[in-house]
C-alpha cells in the first residue's frame, strides 16, 4: 500500500506537496486546507475532477494550474461523471493491457462545492454512486454559492443571510433547513460516507485514506468555512471550524455500508450554538429580539440531530 501511515503531524509534514501555491482562493479559505490534506495523505497517483466552483476557478486560471496531478474540469455538475468515466476507461485499458504502467496505484477523486453537490450536480452524483464506480467524491461545503456572490444553496442552514435569501424587516434570511446530504448518500448504500472537518486534521486524514482505500463510490462532506460569505476574519478559519464542530452544528461521523454509523468526534464541552452564530456576520440579524426564535429552533434541531446520531450509533443498525 502506497499510502503513508500518519501517526503524528511531524510525520505527516514529510509529505511532498502536490497542491501548489499562488492559486487565487481567498486568504484563509478552508478549501485549500482540505485539498492539500487529501493530496498529502496519499502517495498514489491521483486523477482529480473538479466541478465548477471556487476551487476550480481559482486553481486553473489560464495559463496556470495549481495541480501537480492529473486534473480535469468539464462543467458545473459533472465532476462525478468525469471521475467515473476516467475510472471506467482506466479499468477497460487495464483489462486490455494497454496501460503504460498497469501496476501503478491510481485513485479517482472528484471535488465539488456544496452548490454543485447538493443542487446542480446532484443527479450526476447520484448516478455515479448508483453505478458503483471506484471513486471518492469530496464535497467542500461552504453553505452557499460563494463563487458567484453568495447565493443560497440547499446546503445553506436556516437563518443565514445570503444574497438571494436576505435578512431584513420581513425576513430572517433563509427559511428552509439544510439538506442532509450525508444521509442521502448513505441511502445509496455507498461503502463509505462521512462528514469531516479540517480542524480535526487526523480524523480527516484517516477518513480520506479510508475512502481512497475503499473500493466503490465513497462520499465525504467536509466543512469549509468561507471567510467572504460567512463574514469573519480570515485568520479565524480554524477557530470557526472548531466552533462548528464543538457546537455540533457539524457533527463528525461516518456511515459504513449505508447503515453502520460511527461518531468520530465527541466534543468534551458542547458549546451553545449562539457562540458559533455570533462569530459570523451572516447570522448577525438573528440576535435581534424578534429573531430569537430562530436561534432556539437551530439549537433544537442540533440537539435532535445529535440525539439521533447517538442512538443510531448505539443501535448498530
Amino acid at each position: 500500500m502506497a499510502i503513508t501511515s500518519i501517526k503524528n503531524l511531524k510525520e505527516f509534514s514529510t509529505a511532498n506537496e502536490r497542491f501548489e501555491g499562488a492559486h487565487l482562493l481567498c486568504p484563509g479559505c478552508a478549501h485549500s486546507m482540505i485539498v492539500r490534506e487529501l493530496m498529502n495523505c496519499t502517495d498514489d497517483n491521483l486523477v482529480i475532477a473538479s466541478n465548477t466552483g471556487c476551487l476550480e476557478v481559482s486553481t486553473a486560471v489560464y495559463p496556470y494550474t495549481s495541480w501537480d496531478t492529473s486534473w480535469i474540469h468539464i462543467g458545473f455538475e459533472n465532476a462525478a461523471t468525469a471521475a467515473s468515466g476516467a475510472e471506467a476507461m482506466y479499468k477497460a485499458r487495464k483489462r486490455k493491457g494497454t496501460l503504460k504502467d498497469p501496476d501503478a496505484p491510481v485513485k479517482f477523486v472528484a471535488f465539488g462545492g456544496d452548490g454543485s453537490t447538493y443542487d446542480i450536480g446532484f443527479q450526476w452524483l447520484s448516478g455515479a454512486m448508483e453505478r458503483g464506480h471506484d471513486f471518492t467524491y469530496i464535497c467542500l461545503d461552504n453553505e452557499n454559492y460563494a463563487n458567484t456572490g453568495g447565493q443560497r444553496s440547499s446546503a445553506t442552514p436556516i437563518g443565514a443571510n445570503t444574497t438571494t435569501a436576505q435578512a431584513g424587516r420581513v425576513s430572517y434570511g433563509k427559511k428552509e433547513k439544510k439538506k442532509d446530504m450525508v444521509a442521502i448518500m448513505a441511502a445509496h448504500g455507498a461503502p463509505y460516507v462521512a462528514q469531516l472537518a479540517p480542524n480535526k486534521w487526523k480524523i480527516m486524514a484517516k477518513g480520506f485514506q479510508k475512502a481512497l482505500e475503499t473500493e466503490g463510490p465513497c462520499f465525504i462532506n467536509t466543512v469549509s468555512a468561507c471567510t467572504t460569505e460567512w463574514k469573519f476574519d480570515p485568520k479565524d478559519t480554524i477557530h470557526l471550524t472548531d466552533l462548528a464542530t464543538d457546537t455540533l452544528m457539524f457533527p463528525i461521523y461516518e456511515i459504513i455500508d449505508g447503515h453502520e454509523l460511527n461518531i468520530l468526534y465527541r466534543p468534551k464541552n458542547i458549546i451553545p450554538v449562539e457562540e458559533y452564530l455570533a462569530a459570523q456576520g451572516r447570522y448577525k440579524h438573528l440576535f435581534k429580539p424578534e429573531n430569537k426564535h430562530v436561534i432556539e429552533q437551530i439549537q433544537k434541531d442540533i440537539d435532535a440531530k445529535w440525539e439521533y446520531l447517538q442512538r443510531r450509533e448505539e443501535a448498530r443498525v
Binding site: A2, L9, K10, E11, F12, S13, T14, N16, E17, R18, F19, E20, G21, A22, H23, L24, L25, P27, G28, C29, A30, H31, S32, M33, R36, E37, T42, D43, D44, N45, T59, A60, V61, Y62, P63, Y64, T65, S66, W67, D68, T69, P198, W201, T227, D233, P234, K235, D236, T237, I238, H239
Partner: protein, 148 residues
C-alpha cells in the same frame, strides 16, 4: 544554480496577470496545461527538485495581495507543524520534520498560521508588509504568564 529550498529558481518569478492576455474568442477550447516539463511522480520528488513548467502556478506569485505578513522566529518554534497542516497556500516550508520558514511568494497573509501556533510567546506573528525581518524579531514579545 539552485537558490535553496526557500527560494528555488522558478518559484514566484511572475506576477499573476502579468502575462499577455488573449480575448475570449481567441482562447483554445479544451486546453491542456502540463504541470511539469517532463514526466515526474510528484509524490516522490521534493518541490525544489521538480521540473516545473511555466504553466504551474508555483512559478507565479501572489505576494502583492499581502498587507501584513507572518514573521517566523526559529528560537521559539517547537516544530509542531500546526502551521504547516493548516496553511491554505502551501506557504509553510517544512523538510525532515523541521519548519524552515515561510514562502513569501505564495503567502497571502491570512494569519491562520499565527492563530494555530501553540507556543508562548507565539513563534509566528503578523507584522506590516514593509517591516524588516530583523526589526520584527527585535520587537518580539516576552513570554506571557498564565493568569491565575
Amino acid at each position: 544554480m539552485s537558490r535553496g529550498v526557500l527560494a528555488t529558481e522558478k518559484r514566484g518569478m511572475r506576477e499573476l496577470g502579468a502575462e499577455e492576455h488573449v480575448g475570449w474568442d481567441e482562447v483554445t477550447q479544451g486546453t491542456l496545461l502540463p504541470s511539469f516539463e517532463k514526466d515526474v511522480d510528484a509524490a516522490h520528488v521534493r518541490p525544489e527538485e521538480r521540473p516545473y513548467s511555466d504553466f504551474n502556478s508555483y512559478t507565479a506569485t501572489v505576494a502583492s495581495w499581502r498587507v501584513i505578513k507572518p514573521v517566523y522566529n526559529r528560537d521559539i518554534c517547537i516544530d509542531c507543524q500546526n502551521c504547516w497542516v493548516w496553511c491554505p497556500d502551501t506557504s509553510i516550508v517544512s523538510r525532515d520534520k523541521q519548519m524552515l520558514g515561510i514562502d513569501y511568494d505564495h503567502c497571502k497573509g491570512c494569519g491562520v498560521c499565527v492563530e494555530v501556533c501553540p507556543t508562548n510567546p507565539k513563534s509566528l506573528l503578523m507584522f506590516g508588509e514593509s517591516e524588516e525581518t530583523e526589526a520584527a524579531l527585535a520587537k518580539w514579545p516576552e513570554k506571557k504568564k498564565k493568569a491565575k
